[in-house]
């Protein structure tokens, strides 16, 4: 049951109705039943794997909390008898004990992800090494539970937050199951934090007509992005990437840029559907995209793109790594041997590389995804190392770095870098991506891609191309308004009812008529639903 299926709309309708009909104290139960039913419909018995992860996470969090409490109790009991150093040692001992429990929990939930999603990748790569020994690792091709990459990170974040004492461990297993399986976000995020989401889920919400309309509008906008733009773009993009040897130069870059836009509208569209559905129920999910194509640097891009993943990486990988003792030692030593400039920056650079290596790896069990992460990592590191140099160049060239043109240049530059990076994530293989990458720079073919014959050979009719360009223009317009802090839904609210309804019907008609859906359309699933 995809977000674009009629069955999903019916499911959402029934869930909303059931939620507001249920007595307030049991409303969370309605959500839990709906979430488990949704997962069951989509994944069948793989629901058990989710429940196992929930059980482990739930238990480990309680254990960590108990361990933390024990440490505090011990400290309180010993109290005044101990001097400062002894207290510190006792605290460290307690923390170490909790960390071990956390490590166990992380290993268990991460182990499930590595086994189910990455085993075959490791087996493939190990096969070459083990060949001389006559060992061939078996392939399993496990079925992947829906949203495993997302709920694994969610579980790790929760356990870590409990370990850090930022949240209290849940004591109601069923409620915690709802937190882990809430149906709008289980498919492709956003990756929620317990502190932000759990309370909203457990507390009952009153029916709010305006909120219902806003949620529906947001979901409709998400469907527009996904069905009108992303799925339509998928046709020419797929044609080029699947037959990349037939295309050259700028055409490949345009395809890569198109893929970037496809991923954006696909993922952001899915997010908006999820957020819209949640909003209709009175629950606010975190924002995952903030007009990423208006970014002025790669660093800025990753602050706006898949925000919850970036935030997760920052909180649970980057800071722990860069602030770790090992990295502090490394920094000290590198300053001694490499000087202050490099020595100061080396730990964050290494942490950054690690983060983007993991980001790439998280996207898929393939070297091309790792390369995608590394590609982004390179530019982020450059952002750390070279800002002073950039400033010098800009001053020498008398560039006003606050001007509109400079900002436009930065946006275009970022767009180009991001688009080139897409070659790695969408290329059929890493080799194919390299070949395309080389062709873009080596086989310049001007603007043949703009010709009508080329356009029409990519699987879309002229009317479809015109529609696509128009829809992208609408997307840019909406993103621009958001960028300037204008909330369109509130602007719609201010209109009179006839005009409001005309806008609603227009939106529904646009998705209904222009959307790529229905039996004649082989629906491509949400790209991030596969992760």
């Amino acid at each position: 049951m995809s977000f674009t299926d009629l069955a999903f709309f019916a499911f959402v309708g029934v869930t909303i109705l059931a939620y507001f009909v249920t007595p307030k104290r049991f409303r969370w139960v309605t959500l839990l039943v709906a979430s488990l039913a949704f997962y069951w419909i989509n994944s069948g018995w793989l629901l058990l794997i989710l429940l196992a992860t929930v059980a482990v996470t739930f238990g480990v969090a309680l254990w960590i909390e108990a361990s933390n409490k024990r440490g505090k109790d011990e400290l309180a009991a010993a109290g005044k008898k101990l001097d400062r150093a002894e207290k510190k040692a006792l605290r460290a001992k307690a923390k170490k004990r909790s960390r071990r429990i956390l490590a166990l929990g992380v290993c268990l939930v991460l182990g499930a992800l590595l086994l189910l999603k990455y085993y075959d990748f490791f087996a493939d790569n190990a096969a070459g090494l083990l060949k001389p020994l006559g060992i061939t690792p078996p392939h399993f091709a496990f079925l992947l539970p829906l949203g495993i990459s997302f709920y694994t990170l969610q579980a790790i974040a929760y356990m870590t937050d409990v370990f850090r004492g930022k949240v209290k461990a849940d004591r109601n297993f069923l409620k915690f199951t709802l937190f882990m399986s809430f149906f709008p976000q289980i498919v492709q995020g956003p990756i929620p934090r317990h502190a932000q989401l759990a309370k909203q889920l457990y507390e009952p919400h009153d029916f709010d007509y305006t909120r219902l309309c806003h949620g529906a509008q947001l979901a409709l906008w998400g469907l527009f992005q996904k069905m009108v733009i992303a799925d339509r773009l998928a046709v020419p993009v797929g044609q080029v990437f699947e037959n990349y040897t037939q295309y050259h130069g700028l055409m490949l870059f345009v395809a890569a840029a198109g893929y970037g836009l496809q991923v954006y509208t696909d993922f952001s569209g899915g997010m908006d559907v999820a957020r819209g559905v949640a909003q209709m129920l009175g629950i606010e999910l975190e924002l995952n995209f903030k007009q990423p194509y208006f970014s002025t640097s790669i660093e800025d891009f990753w602050r706006r793109w898949h925000i919850t993943l970036g935030s997760w990486m920052k909180n649970y990988v980057f800071y722990p790594l860069s602030l770790s003792k090992a990295f502090a030692n490394l920094s000290r030593k590198s300053r001694r041997f490499l000087g202050d400039f490099v020595g100061k920056r080396l730990p964050p650079i290494l942490a950054m590389f690690t983060v983007y290596f993991l980001v790439g790896f998280w996207h898929g069990a393939d070297w091309k995804y790792i390369m995608y992460g590394v590609w982004n990592g390179i530019f982020l590191v450059a952002g750390i190392l070279l800002p002073e140099q950039y400033a010098k160049w800009a001053d020498k060239l008398h560039i006003d770095r606050e001007s509109f043109y400079w900002r436009t240049f930065q946006i275009v530059r970022t767009f180009i870098i991001c688009s080139l990076g897409r070659l790695f994530s969408r290329g059929e293989t890493l080799e194919a991506a390299w070949q395309m990458f080389g062709s873009i720079f080596a086989e310049w073919n001007n603007f043949t891609w703009l010709s009508e014959s080329t356009r029409l050979s990519l699987g879309l009719t002229e009317r479809n191309w015109m529609l696509l360009f128009a829809a992208i223009a609408v997307l840019v317009w909406v993103d621009r308004k958001h960028e300037h802090g204008i909330h369109l839904r509130e602007a719609i609210d201010r209109q009179r009812l006839p005009l409001r309804w005309i806008i609603y019907y227009g939106g529904i008609a646009a998705v209904f008529v222009f959307g790529m859906w229905g039996p004649a359309f082989d629906a491509s699933s949400f790209i991030y639903g596969r992760f």
Partner: protein, 800 residues
């Protein structure tokens, strides 16, 4: 202001307010969805699908006694109105384009729902049970979409759909067709309904009235005779599931189920298919009426040249013959009452009246030779649009009377048309809607046209010799009454020499010299006739002669003097005859095959057999062969020695001429219209068989070793069969295997870029391999027939 906002907020939390708003919003949404359904659902007028179902629902309840279910052959094959007129049977043709048996089943249920007491007979098209019959999803939609919402429709949708989305797409057409937005045109916004009740009760007339423009060598022939009663074809398993459900349903509902095959399901009809369906129907105790074979084929006096349009679908005359037979059958054998005097069926009188008002002018026009009378007849009645274009010259033989008639009809430009002038005209519902002429001023008209000045319809503009008049054809773009885009083009020899009439980009004009007329039915939204009148050469056209060509030849007429249609029929008949004969030969039990083969063709009243040896042809003959050949009179062949040269001709009258020589000499026979040459091993090692004298024409002998036999019709030159006997391929089974191998190779090779070249290469390969090509369609002259057959079949399927 604040007070008002507070009130608004309070109001918005009221459940009644919210419920009303949501209900109102949903109601408008449903209304819009309903409009979208109408807009997006394709009409599919081409095979009458839309009118068939619409008309069916307009039948008064409990009146239809018999229904016809099946594919396009059914749609073209049965005229219920005629059945009513002849026998008083109230039937309805519910056939649709490539109708899936599943839909036949559900339409039977729907018919029973609407006509619970009246419905007694269900006629089911056997072609739906054939193995290759696998309708794509669009044909399910075409048969299903116009079914009204009912428990039957819900059941059918549930059966059809794989998932909930698909289920809804069957019930709500715009779910399935919303992506038609990119191909919508003006006609989609106009839903023209017929001006009378003539929905034709599901019958779909074809505008081609005989096998015109089709190579008779490339079309299928009726089976006529079942020669092998043992052969069993595999039937389509999916189709059988629904056939069996239909059988059960008919039994439960006390309906009589009759399975039929029209005379033109020929592309894959074989002994095996006939036997398989015969067995199937026997098993269930169901009647099987196979009009592909005698005696039924003879009983309806089927004429393959005029009763079918493409060897698959019946023309009007074929449908009339078949309908007449079926009407008698339904009345006499199925005991359907003559309801003509029953007041409940008074509505049929209006339908019959409308039918005649609509069809009589059309059928009159089909037989009309005079272009002016043709136009006049169609303008007089019937809701037709006539689209007229001139090509080359349309005036040289146009008579004053014809001009006067055109003038009287309001076609003044046509009445005064000049030599080589371009002309386009459009007549809608009997009124001249548009006329335009582009004068050809670059050439002087021939006498006496320039001298005619009076009366006005003979008045010509002064001709001024003008080289700069422009060479572009006269073009007129317009919309037909149903919003379809129509473009007419006309040009004399100095303006592109063209005639074109496109409707939604489909060309319809015959594009021949003179006047080209396309007749568009405004009710059914289809082209129902096209005609060309070569009014440069003759004032009137010559209609195809329907007399038997064999009889004409027997009376002393030469083949060359026959009309094209007669030639076509002659060749078609020959092919039908020889196909049957070939099947009989192939199914014979005589071994060795070579002697039986020659014996079967020997003395055939219309065929000649040519024999020619290459390399070595003696060792393949057994003692038994030699004895049989000697008895037949082929003495030299019976006594042929190792690697000797040999050729022979067995004439249609049974006379034999043989020539043989040693392996170092050439044996040859030359006659007025054929040439044989066999050069033994030491004399060049070749075989030549030509059916044109003087060293011209194709050498039909392949490069293979052995004895080449070619059977052909000396009158038309039509090759009936060609076989190459070798040491390895001598018996019937071996020939059959080699033929199958050759056909398979042909099919594989013909999928290449150049079908003709590929087939040629294939023949060489087959010959080199020593294979035998036992069917004319797979060998040299008809080498092009196999891909041509494929192409024709493909075209027809696409046309469907």
């Amino acid at each position: 202001m604040l007070h008002k906002q507070a009130n608004d907020t309070n109001e918005q939390t009221q459940p009644r307010f919210v419920a009303l708003r949501i209900a109102g919003f949903a109601a408008i949404l449903l209304l819009l969805l309903s409009c979208a359904n109408t807009l997006f659902q394709p009409a599919w007028y081409e095979w009458n699908n839309y009118h068939t179902h619409r008309g069916f629902y307009q039948q008064p309840n409990d009146t239809v006694e018999a229904i016809f279910l099946g594919a396009s052959m059914t749609v073209n094959g049965f005229i219920p109105t005629q059945m009513y007129e002849e026998q008083g049977v109230c039937a309805y043709n519910l056939g649709t384009e490539i109708q899936p048996p599943m839909m036949s089943y559900y339409w039977t249920k729907e018919a029973k729902r609407l006509h619970p007491n009246a419905l007694k007979v269900v006629m089911f098209d056997a072609s739906q049970l054939r193995k290759p019959s696998s309708p794509t999803i669009s044909f399910y939609h075409k048969a299903f979409d116009n079914m009204q919402l009912s428990p039957v429709k819900l059941e059918a949708a549930q059966d059809l759909a794989q998932d909930p989305d698909e289920f809804f797409s069957y019930l709500v057409p715009s779910f399935a067709y919303h992506d038609r937005w990119s191909s919508l045109n003006y006609s989609d916004f106009i839903k023209n309904e017929p001006t009378n009740s003539a929905f034709y009760r599901g019958y779909n007339t074809t505008y081609s009235q005989y096998l015109e423009g089709t190579d008779p060598a490339a079309v299928a022939t009726p089976l006529a005779t079942v020669t092998d009663n043992q052969k069993q074809a595999q039937l389509n398993a999916d189709a059988l599931v629904y056939f069996e459900r239909l059988v059960t349903y008919c039994r439960e509902q006390n309906l009589r189920l009759v399975v039929f095959a029209t005379p033109t399901s020929g592309w894959s009809w074989s002994d095996g298919e006939h036997n398989a369906i015969d067995n199937l129907t026997s098993r269930y105790g169901i009647t099987f009426l196979d009009f592909e074979v005698n005696p039924l084929l003879d009983e309806i006096a089927f004429n393959p040249n005029f009763d079918t349009t493409d060897s698959y679908h019946l023309s009007y005359s074929g449908a009339a013959k078949l309908s007449s037979w079926i009407a008698r059958y339904l009345h006499n054998e199925c005991q359907l009452a003559d309801v003509r005097s029953d007041p409940k069926y008074s509505f049929m009188e209006q339908e019959v009246k409308d039918w005649h008002a609509k069809f009589d002018p059309l059928h009159g026009a089909l037989e009309e030779t005079d272009p002016a009378e043709y136009v006049k007849g169609l303008m007089a009645s019937g809701n037709y649009t006539l689209l007229i274009t001139a090509k080359d010259d349309a005036t040289k033989s146009l008579t004053a009377t014809q001009r006067k008639t055109f003038w009287g009809l309001g076609l003044t430009d046509l009445a005064t048309l000049g030599y080589h002038d371009a002309y386009v005209g459009m007549v809608t519902n009997g009124t001249v809607a548009y006329e335009a002429v582009k004068k050809d001023t670059s050439t002087a008209p021939p006498s006496p046209l320039t001298s005619q000045t009076s009366p006005p319809y003979l008045a010509y503009d002064d001709i001024s010799f003008d080289k700069d008049m422009g060479s572009q054809p006269l073009t007129y773009e317009t919309l037909l009454t149903d919003g379809r885009r129509c473009t007419l083009k006309s040009g004399g020899p100095n303006m592109g020499n063209t005639s074109s009439c496109t409707i939604d980009d489909n060309e319809n004009s015959p594009d021949s010299r003179g006047l080209n007329i396309v007749v568009y039915d405004n009710d059914t939204h289809r082209v129902v006739n096209t005609a060309n009148f070569d009014t440069f050469a003759e004032a009137e056209r010559t209609l195809a002669d329907r007399s038997n060509p064999e009889e004409l030849i027997a009376k002393g007429n030469s083949y060359e003097t026959l009309q094209p249609a007669q030639k076509s029929l002659y060749r078609y008949n020959m092919r039908a005859l020889h196909d049957t004969r070939a099947r009989q030969v192939a199914s014979g039990s005589h071994i060795p095959y070579i002697a039986q083969f020659l014996k079967d063709y020997m003395g055939n009243a219309q065929l000649r057999v040519l024999l020619c040896a290459k390399d070595e042809a003696a060792q393949l003959l057994s003692t038994e062969d030699c004895k049989a050949l000697a008895d037949m009179g082929l003495v030299q062949l019976a006594n042929l020695n190792y690697r000797e040269s040999y050729c022979a001709v067995i004439n249609a009258d049974g006379t034999i001429q043989e020539a043989s020589a040693s392996d170092s000499d050439v044996a040859s026979i030359q006659a007025q219209d054929f040439e044989l040459e066999s050069a033994g091993w030491a004399a060049g090692n070749r075989a030549i068989i030509r059916i044109a004298a003087g060293g011209y024409g194709t050498n039909h002998a392949t490069n293979a070793r052995g004895l080449h036999a070619l059977v052909y019709d000396p009158v038309s030159g039509e090759i009936v069969e060609q076989v190459n006997f070798t040491q390895e391929v001598r018996t019937r089974d071996e020939v059959a295997a080699a033929t199958a191998a050759a056909q398979s190779t042909t099919a594989t090779t013909a999928t290449g870029a150049d079908a003709t070249g590929a087939t040629g290469a294939n023949v060489t390969d087959v010959a080199d391999a020593g294979a035998v090509t036992g069917d004319a369609a797979a060998t040299t002259p008809a080498q092009e027939a196999t891909p041509l057959e494929d192409a024709t079949q493909q075209n027809d399927l696409e046309a469907e």
